[in-house]
């Protein structure tokens, strides 16, 4: 096997407002032809920067030292891309190495047909005629699995679904037959069921097109599914590099071990749920539910003659005091809408939604305000859910001040310190501003704010999906511990079945606005009844290469059966 990419002692630093920051310190890597190398690590570990240096795609503020030798696929030429500029760099890009970006909806230009965008790459490198180029674009679209490519080549990006868009982006990368494709979190923005299909396609890129793939990801399941070899990055260095089986079965480095231990696994929560169920007092099942939805329908009115969009359609469920309901579904399934409706942020269109004894269908803000005191909310993105101009203490004190439990943030400081301690943040963090905290710390502060009024109900809308795996594990643990101590009921919304399984007493699966399955973790994960749940379970990659290979076969069989 020949080496396509040979990185030696790569060092990258950035000029920032607060001085020079070293993003990568001395990385050496080789990528062999036709292999999938996964670079894993937390955000800020330098994995993206390392991979981008292969294409010379770094911002102007970057300073690169070391060598990145990129060889052509046929082995005729090899050159160091670090000193390349302008036209030489353009020669290499696309031809020897191509890139697949994270977010397919933003990496395609919305004003050009997809065919034009694929041909653009061809024209930049070869002297193909219009007809030939078009034929080639149609051919590559067919090979990445776009149905009816002769016709769809003239369609615009918005006419494709998210998964199809990512296929087109991959087609764009494949059309010049590059030696290596750099895929930067290619499936992070996609739903699990779509993710499985894209992973399958990337595998075909390697097998059918013979391209090497540098896969950047933080998802260990994806690594187990696709990678041949894994490099673990931490603080700008490679801490471990190994064959995928070796890495998962016998991780050497302490950090790798910690990272693997933090990944939630399916079925982990079953025992936990049983324990919780055993602790319940008699008569618990008869207690009046905190939230009760009956035939709940939520419709977003269409604008400008577009039809109305039914986000939630005839959903019924109940959350009893002290119970954690996990709500799972892909994007657009209406799971966040239900959470927002319970918090009074979205109007209920039809049916009934009782929250703490108040009917939410046609509610008045004035009469609902006292109820708000009894509801806590934790938002998805901790970066944007704090006012950037308030300190953490001021933000956590906000509910206390609003509901007149304290005169001003200063008077609430004692309680705020208690709350910060409860979420395991040092008291001194209260004087910091949100941007001075890490994502996990911010999410813990957000939890403290949600719990400030000792609510009976906590709604957590994807509270860990913006966090790294190791941080996610800590936040989930904390959530579980606080729930046990304070005994609030909770609606836990997530797209990740494994995460929900860890925490929830009951799991409800939403699909296109309808509740397709509800039950305990053991029921839903062990014996799924609805085909969608089965598909969802099968497409979830598990962090174990051998197990995942078996699951993949099962998934393919399931797909063939459909």
């Amino acid at each position: 096997m020949s080496t396509v990419v040979d990185i030696t002692d790569l060092q990258i630093s950035f000029a920032t407002d607060s001085g020079t920051v070293d993003a990568v310190t001395g990385v050496s890597l080789q990528v062999q032809a036709g292999e999938v190398l996964a670079i894993v690590g937390e955000s800020g570990s330098g994995k993206t920067v390392t991979a981008r240096s292969i294409l010379g795609l770094l911002p102007e503020t970057a300073r690169v030292r070391g060598a990145v030798v990129l060889s052509a696929k046929d082995g005729t030429s090899a050159q160091d891309v670090v000193p390349l500029r302008g036209s030489q760099l353009r020669e290499v890009r696309g031809h020897d190495a191509a890139m697949v970006f994270q977010e397919p909806s933003t990496s395609l230009n919305p004003v050009y047909p997809v065919g034009w965008q694929i041909i653009e790459g061809l024209r930049a490198h070869g002297k193909l005629g219009k007809k030939e180029a078009r034929a080639k674009a149609i051919d590559v679209l067919r090979r990445v699995g776009i149905p009816d490519p002769e016709h769809r080549v003239d369609h615009y990006p918005h006419q494709f679904s998210g998964g199809q868009k990512q296929r087109i982006v991959i087609a764009q990368a494949l059309v010049l037959d590059p030696g290596v494709i750099i895929a930067d979190e290619p499936t992070t923005a996609l739903d699990v069921t779509v993710q499985a299909e894209i992973l399958e396609l990337l595998r075909r890129c390697r097998d059918d097109f013979g391209a090497a793939i540098v896969l950047i990801t933080h998802n260990m399941g994806v690594v187990a599914d696709l990678a041949d070899r894994v490099a673990v990055m931490y603080r700008g260095e490679i801490v471990e590099q190994a064959d995928v089986r070796t890495l998962f079965s016998a991780p050497q480095n302490a950090y790798t071990q910690q990272l693997l231990a933090a990944v939630p696994r399916l079925g982990q929560g079953v025992e936990h749920t049983r324990e919780r169920a055993a602790r319940r007092t008699e008569g618990w099942a008869e207690a009046a539910p905190v939230v009760e939805a009956r035939d709940l329908r939520i419709v977003y009115p269409g604008r400008l003659r577009q039809p109305d969009f039914t986000a939630v359609d005839g959903v019924s469920f109940a959350i009893r005091p002290g119970e954690v309901l996990g709500l799972v579904g892909e994007s657009g399934s209406g799971k966040s809408t239900i959470g927002r409706a319970i918090a009074g942020l979205t109007k209920v269109s039809d049916g009934s939604l009782q929250v703490l004894g108040t009917e939410m269908n046609g509610f008045k803000e004035r009469s609902f305000r006292p109820v708000r005191e009894r509801i806590g909310f934790v938002f998805q993105d901790p970066a944007s859910s704090f006012n950037p101009l308030l300190t953490i203490a001021e933000a956590v004190a906000e509910p206390l001040v609003v509901h007149k439990r304290a005169k001003d943030p200063g008077a609430a400081r004692g309680r705020v310190d208690e709350l910060l301690e409860a979420v395991q943040l040092p008291k001194a963090f209260g004087d910091r501003y949100p941007h001075e905290l890490s994502g996990g710390q911010r999410q813990r502060a957000s939890l403290a704010r949600g719990l400030a009024l000792q609510p009976e109900l906590l709604i957590a809308d994807e509270p860990t999906s913006a966090l790294d795996v190791s941080v996610q594990a800590r936040v989930l643990e904390l959530f579980d511990q606080l729930q046990r101590e304070l005994g609030f009921a909770a609606l836990f919304i997530s797209h990740d079945l494994a995460v929900v399984d860890l925490l929830a007493d009951k799991i409800a699966v939403l699909y296109r606005g309808e509740l397709v399955e509800e039950g305990t973790g053991a029921e839903v994960l062990g014996a799924p009844e609805h085909p969608y749940t089965r598909r969802l379970l099968a497409s979830l990659p598990v962090p174990d290469p051998d197990d995942q290979a078996r699951r993949r076969t099962a998934w393919n069989a399931l797909r063939a059966a459909d």
């Binding site: 920032t16 607060s18 001085g19 920051v21 970057a62 942020l345 859910s385 006012n387 890490s438």
Partner: protein, 344 residues
């Protein structure tokens, strides 16, 4: 430059302009410094006008009798005298005072009104928003100067005392500028309204008034200093324009550059350069100063336009800033934050 900080530095309450001055490098710094020097000169002249000017703005004679009209620069009159017999230097110096008054009043009034309307309009939306936006657009459709003239006539009613004139000019400028502040604040409010922290305040049960003042207002007004400096220069131009067209202030009530330029119109053809050059230069320099400051603040506020010092050649000079003990910190490290700017 910042030394190595292993924990995120506590944010100091930074003094706006000083902070930007420290942050800037190269040409951007040069522009900012030049602008600040010009603005400083303007402010000093305006504040200390009675000390700096040799004569009063409306003074026609001293102990030795009348000055005489259209005298070239001399020891008695450093910049000569005008066709009306006033001392050019004194009028240029006192003119800065009038300009400052007008800027302060116009900017204050339009900011208060514009921000309030923009906030309410953007936050509540609905029919009120639609009506206000239409009015703002309608005001935009009028030529600025024409509108200012109409307002000047309505307010002063032909009278032109010093404060009457100043208020007429300031109010007419205000009317023109309110839509600008209104639009900026409204757009920001609409954007901020959908931010998660507003929703989180709403979930907590905070009242609309509290959300508007505590969360929206302070975040929406961050770009205002930039528009403010740019508008101040426009205010001077409008004032000068009004004066030039004869809707300004009588020479005996206050000194005003535009009026002096108007009077100097006939001098230009007869080779009398000093009556027009100096008030004209005063306008140009003041506007230039304000614009330079405004533009550089604007560029510095945008991390994409801001130039930075090159990354140091020697690795580890003040490195390790990115790495924060205790795991992943998005704050100063992280590739994403490099582009969005760590100072958000």
């Amino acid at each position: 430059m910042a030394t190595a900080t292993t924990t995120p530095a506590r944010r100091r309450r930074q003094i706006p302009v000083v902070h930007q001055l420290r942050q800037s490098v190269g040409l951007q710094r040069g522009m900012l410094v030049a602008g600040l020097v010009l603005m400083g000169l303007f402010l000093i002249t305006a504040v200390f006008a009675p000390l700096l000017a040799p004569y009063g703005y409306g003074q026609l004679r001293d102990a030795d009798g009348a000055f005489g009209a259209q005298l070239p620069p001399s020891a008695d009159h450093l910049l000569g005298t005008t066709v009306g017999g006033y001392d050019v230097l004194s009028r240029v110096v006192y003119g800065s005072r009038t300009a400052l008054y007008v800027i302060v009043i116009a900017v204050l009034l339009s900011i208060v009104a514009g921000v309030l309307l923009g906030l309410v309009s953007g936050y509540f939306g609905g029919w009120l928003d639609r009506v206000l936006v239409v009015i703002a657009d309608a005001v935009y459709a009028f030529p600025t100067l024409l509108l200012a003239i109409v307002v000047a006539i309505v307010i002063s009613g032909g009278q032109s005392t010093m404060w009457g004139g100043i208020f007429a000019a300031a109010l007419s400028i205000t009317v023109v500028f309110i839509p600008q502040y209104f639009r900026v604040v409204r757009a920001e409010t609409v954007r901020i309204k959908s931010e998660a922290y507003i929703e989180s305040a709403r979930v907590i049960g905070a009242s609309n008034w509290r959300i508007m003042t505590k969360h929206v207002l302070r975040n929406a007004t961050r770009t205002l200093p930039l528009i403010l400096t740019l508008n101040a220069s426009e205010a001077i131009l409008t004032l000068a324009g009004l004066g030039f067209l004869g809707f300004g202030i009588q020479p005996t009530k206050a000194a005003e550059w535009g009026y002096d330029l108007n009077r100097a119109l006939s001098d230009v053809t007869s080779g009398i350069w000093w009556t027009s050059i100096f008030p004209g230069a005063a306008i140009v320099l003041t506007v230039l100063g304000l614009t330079l400051v405004g533009e550089s603040l604007n560029d510095l506020a945008d991390p994409r336009l801001r130039t930075r010092r090159r990354a140091a050649d020697t690795p580890g000079a003040d490195a390790q800033v990115s790495v924060v003990p205790g795991g992943t910190l998005a704050a100063p490290g992280g590739v994403a934050d490099l582009e969005t700017g760590a100072d958000r």
